[in-house]
């Protein structure tokens, strides 16, 4: 049976949410920027895009393109809240909703078509409800698989509805540049161009052995992509694979060198990782520390422990041990801690009294913070720390479950 997959993509999501929440910004060129002073443009409204302002521009570059540009600091909590509500609307039409990122989702509506009166009706219902409730337009792509549905939604922006029917797949792909396919990045594109493969049609006709010779097992997948074949299912959150790691990283407001400063950030990150791990009942045995220097050189080191841990101070001690094994040659721009090698298990009562006290203390802190907000009760050395908590929405953010990271 032919599947019907829908890809819903919110247009200029962050900027649209800002324009809706502040009527004074409507119709104006605006750009959403991160909260830190070293940020870049996260997204720009369509009015700003008309001036050539693009995601990733520095604020200086953006102002050069559009002097009247209004810079709006990101309100991540608002975006995650609105995203969660929008995803709930999608669940009214099918339980098979796969949240792809904060502003994108796939839906498998194969079984819902008769119930709601066809693809167009479901599409317009979703578009109208999102528009009427949140003032945000979205582009919808509909096709027999996720690859083509995503491609279709990119074809008409903003506020588009594009359907790729099975009989139109070959014609649609024949002259389409390979970079338009989701999963073909710049590096892959360069390699394919060097093989004289410019279009999806050429990719689909390419000898599979030639592709696998160059790319390994990915080669077969690439050929299928060129032919518009994608058998991957729409995986709702409850069926998604268990997470393999719990991590947080933060770009610091200024580059730091002092050990005491680095330790303070490590403690904060350990608390964020530990809190999330404890909330979802996971323990990890491997700690990974990521460091990025001021010149953007990034490296990491990991260490596996004998026991599974999820208490913040255990994570912190392991991270400090890794830090002490490194020789930092430059000031630090970004720090990250990841807990991997995870195990989902019920908690075991510690044997020794001091460990029992530590566990009880952590549980008490968690209970207070769950009720009143992150970092309401915290380690004394974090008291003066500015900007505690997560300030960016990770691409892995999801409205529910362990990937639901609370943002500031």
């Amino acid at each position: 049976m032919e599947r019907t997959i829908m890809h819903v993509d919110m247009n200029a999501f962050f900027a649209s949410v800002e324009q809706q929440s502040n009527p004074a910004l409507r119709g104006k060129p605006i750009a959403v920027i991160g909260s830190s002073s070293r940020t870049v443009i996260l997204t720009a409204s369509y009015e700003a895009r008309a001036f050539g302002v693009k995601t990733g521009f520095t604020t200086w570059e953006a102002k050069q393109k559009c002097p009247e540009l209004v810079l709006v600091p990101a309100n991540n909590r608002l975006y995650t809240h609105v995203s969660s509500l929008i995803m709930k609307i999608m669940h009214d039409y099918t339980p098979l909703v796969e949240v792809f990122s904060i502003d994108e989702a796939f839906m498998d509506i194969t079984g819902s078509l008769n119930l709601f009166g066809g693809v167009e009706r479901i599409s317009y219902l979703i578009k109208s409800r999102i528009k009427a409730r949140f003032g945000i337009s979205c582009s919808i792509g509909i096709a027999p698989n996720k690859l083509l549905a995503k491609l279709a939604s990119e074809m008409k922006k903003p506020d588009g509805l594009t359907i790729i029917h099975p009989q139109d797949i070959a014609r649609t792909l024949e002259h389409l540049p390979i970079k338009e396919l989701c999963g073909i990045g710049r590096k892959m594109e360069r390699q394919l161009l060097m093989m004289s493969i410019h279009t999806c049609g050429e990719l689909g006709r390419c000898d599979e052995a030639r592709l696998t010779g160059k790319f390994g097992i990915v080669g077969s997948r690439l050929k299928q992509m060129g032919q518009g074949i994608d058998n991957s299912p729409v995986v709702p959150a409850e069926e998604a694979e268990e997470v393999k790691s719990v991590g947080h990283s933060m770009t610091l407001k200024r580059d730091i060198r002092e050990r005491a400063d680095i330790l303070r950030f490590l403690l904060q990150l350990s608390e964020m990782v530990g809190r999330r791990a404890r909330r979802y009942g996971v323990w990890g045995r491997t700690i990974h520390l990521t460091v990025r220097y001021a010149d953007f050189t990034t490296f990491g080191k990991q260490e596996s422990l004998r026991e599974y841990i999820n208490l913040s101070d255990d994570i912190y001690n392991a991270a400090v041990k890794i830090l002490d094994s490194l020789e930092l040659t430059q000031s630090v721009r970004l720090l990250g801690i990841r807990l991997t090698n995870l195990q989902h298990q019920t908690s075991q009562l510690p044997l020794f009294p001091e460990d029992q006290t530590r566990l009880k203390l952590t549980e008490a802190m968690d209970q207070v913070n769950n009720r009143f907000g992150d970092f309401v009760v915290m380690y004394g050395s974090l008291l003066d720390q500015e900007g505690k908590g997560s300030h960016v929405i990770s691409p892995a953010w999801r409205p529910e479950g362990i990937r639901n990271v609370g943002v500031q």
């Binding site: 167009e120 317009y124 219902l125 109208s128 009427a132």
Partner: protein
């Protein structure tokens, strides 16, 4: 959205090129002025062509459906905003 399927009266401006613009409608003797048409599209059941309009007033989103064969209107769905 709540399904309704109720016959309604609609005031419409018919413009050039088959342009149909509903202006207000009344349900249960209450008149609703249309603030915005968020989407419109056509579909067919057999020979009959239906025009669907998603419209908003001050408090809700409605789906109005125009039956082009007998020039009748139905309110199909409501969602309170």
């Amino acid at each position: 959205m709540q399904p309704r399927s109720t016959d309604i009266r609609v005031a419409v401006v018919f413009g050039p090129g088959m342009r149909i613009q509903p202006m207000w409608f009344d349900v249960n003797r209450k008149q609703h002025t249309i603030r915005k048409i968020t989407n419109s599209w056509m579909d067919k059941k057999g020979e009959t062509v239906f025009m669907h309009f998603h419209v908003t007033d001050e408090g809700a989103l409605y789906e109005l459906v125009y039956n082009m064969a007998d020039a009748s209107w139905k309110l199909e769905q409501i969602e309170v905003l």
